[in-house]
């Protein structure tokens, strides 16, 4: 209940009567219970002056208990209005909810309107900033899980490298990778495993398909696993067969850009400065127009979380933050390279969690 205590302290400091947490990732963070409720209501209500409770579909109560939540649980069934159940329970514990904190980046307008109606037009306070500030600094237990998640991502790239052969399709390679991970106990990937070959690697949002991989292709792998509720996210671009001069040149630029950012990570540097460290290398090499996305994103319970590492984010990094560094160069129809690591900010610099080699690997299976 450590996170609940932190939320209660925040409510006291800010003189807010209650916080209603409904983003499933935040519910997991606060309660230890991970569930995707679809359209049904799942949330944790924390009070300044009363005991918290978890609200979830009736049939998930046993799972919530076995996940370790030992506070109160209120179930609801499909035939009742879950928001009314919430209000009734809240009213029983703390008659006077006048200021209520909500995740404005997650709560939907209809639930917002229901809260407004049921609680009699309370004052709403944004909760995202507080939860982001809590989640962005990983404690040692979280870092250890993220290291393990990154190690599984490294293993996945290893399997991908071993699986490459003339004529195998992207989907077949993807399937082999996921099968190998399942054997190591991985039940969920953190997003759709991406294997892009040849000209397809030059599409930063391309989809794994049935293209047959050929000698001379660069093959881009972008994948990650969910491990104990936390995500990893790695990209490696491998050469299948001998690469040509342009492929080697682009790879070298992206690698230097990636290392420039990794080596610049330390407490105090801003996200924008880090983005610029990488971007400058690519711009100086004349490929600036082909690096079309931000440098990276926070990583933890969500695969994309706070903070966003882009050129206008002036947030200074702090020890305990974990994020991706993933510059890329995409020359449409020709060559695409991205290299992505998961890194943690330490007291003195950086810990790189993903460890698969970054020098261009030439695969000759």
């Amino acid at each position: 209940m450590n996170k609940i205590q932190q939320l209660k302290a925040y409510l006291t400091e800010s003189d807010v009567d209650a916080a209603f947490v409904t983003n499933p990732d935040n519910v997991f963070y606060a309660s230890g219970f991970k569930s995707d409720p679809h359209e049904r209501l799942l949330g944790v209500m924390v009070f300044k002056d009363a005991e918290p409770f978890l609200i979830c579909p009736q049939m998930e109560i046993p799972d919530a208990k076995s996940a370790g939540w030992n506070g109160d649980i209120v179930g609801h069934v499909d035939t009742e209005d879950a928001m009314q159940v919430l209000h009734r329970t809240a009213a029983e514990r703390n008659g006077n909810v006048r200021r209520i904190a909500i995740e404005k980046s997650h709560m939907t307008v209809d639930r917002f309107e229901a809260l407004n109606r049921l609680f009699g037009n309370p004052e709403f306070v944004g909760l995202d900033e507080k939860i982001n500030a809590m989640r962005v600094i990983k404690d040692e237990a979280e870092l250890q899980i993220l290291r393990e998640a990154a190690e599984l991502a490294d293993y996945a790239i290893e399997i991908g490298a071993k699986t490459l052969r003339e004529g195998i399709t992207e989907i077949e390679v993807m399937t082999e990778i996921e099968l190998a991970l399942k054997k190591r106990g991985v039940t969920h990937m953190s997003f759709d495993t991406t294997v892009l070959s040849g000209p397809k690697a030059a599409s930063p949002h391309g989809k794994t398909g049935d293209r047959k991989i050929q000698k001379g292709d660069l093959v881009l792998f972008d994948l990650g696993v969910v491990h104990k509720g936390y995500c990893s996210d790695i990209t490696r671009t491998l050469a299948f067969g001998e690469p040509n001069e342009e492929q080697k040149a682009v790879y070298d630029i992206v690698l230097r850009a990636e290392l420039a950012a990794v080596n610049a990570v330390k407490p105090g540097i801003t996200a924008a400065e880090l983005d610029q460290a990488s971007r400058q290398v690519i711009e100086d090499a004349g490929y600036g127009e082909y690096f079309t996305h931000r440098l990276g994103h926070g990583l933890g319970i969500s695969v994309h979380e706070f903070p966003s590492l882009h050129g206008s984010n002036q947030m200074a990094l702090e020890a305990g933050m974990v994020f991706t560094i993933e510059p890329g160069v995409y020359v449409p129809g020709k060559v695409g390279v991205r290299i992505e690591d998961d890194v943690a900010v330490t007291e003195n610099g950086v810990e790189v969690l993903t460890k698969f080699p970054k020098e261009l690997q030439i695969i000759s299976n």
Copy 2:
């Protein structure tokens, strides 16, 4: 652009200046472009008196075009405020957006507040009901896709039945099923494939794990595929080896309950009546307390969509509606059975899309 024309007609009828569609499933429905934008802005803005546009991350523009959207596209990059880009573009087309329709069940409070600020406190109108009413009636092209999706779900159960053997784990069975589907071109399941064996089948929300399947188990499969953007969702419970009397009795009750609902489907009957048709059979058999969830849910682009088939939904069914019928009985720690079909309401009755046999299959691999 057929769906866009329907939305424009609705705006004219209701005297609403613009509709802003951001639920990714609704964006797909309206534009043909399916994408998961994560925290980034993706939407279609449709005007009463101007041409619509799609707004998406810059790097997704090529994908949106190749998905067949041939209206205007406005891209945004991570360093700009996407809601400002939206407002600027809207203002250029139609200076006077005073009434705006939004999906209140999807739009987040922070985007709602941004619209309020940028458009100068417009009047907001709920759009969910209209889009639900459009999506709930499937046209012949959609029905055909749903039939194909259901056929792939049938095939998955077939593979599951063939894969059962003494000592194989639930995860291994799941992997074999998904592998076989990938070979038939399925890239996404509509939700996590569920294989539950023995006492685990008695948990309506249990998770596929490493339990070894044994002779005498009932094995519950709940799965579906995404096919051309539409979902299927099937449940079958098979007996691995000879079932005991209690297993057979519970199976028989659930099967009769399922058939009671399926056979009652026709235009005009209400969702509540359908739920009751099934529930009555289970209650009469003395197992009412063990049927702990609604009868079913709408099915289409989303695996759970409008309408919800539960005991207090008085909505009358109409031809073209597609939903699941999935009664279950779960005696904790002992026996669990669920049988689920995807059905379409026809002019005269029902078309059952999923066709895997429902008589208790005894597998003796």
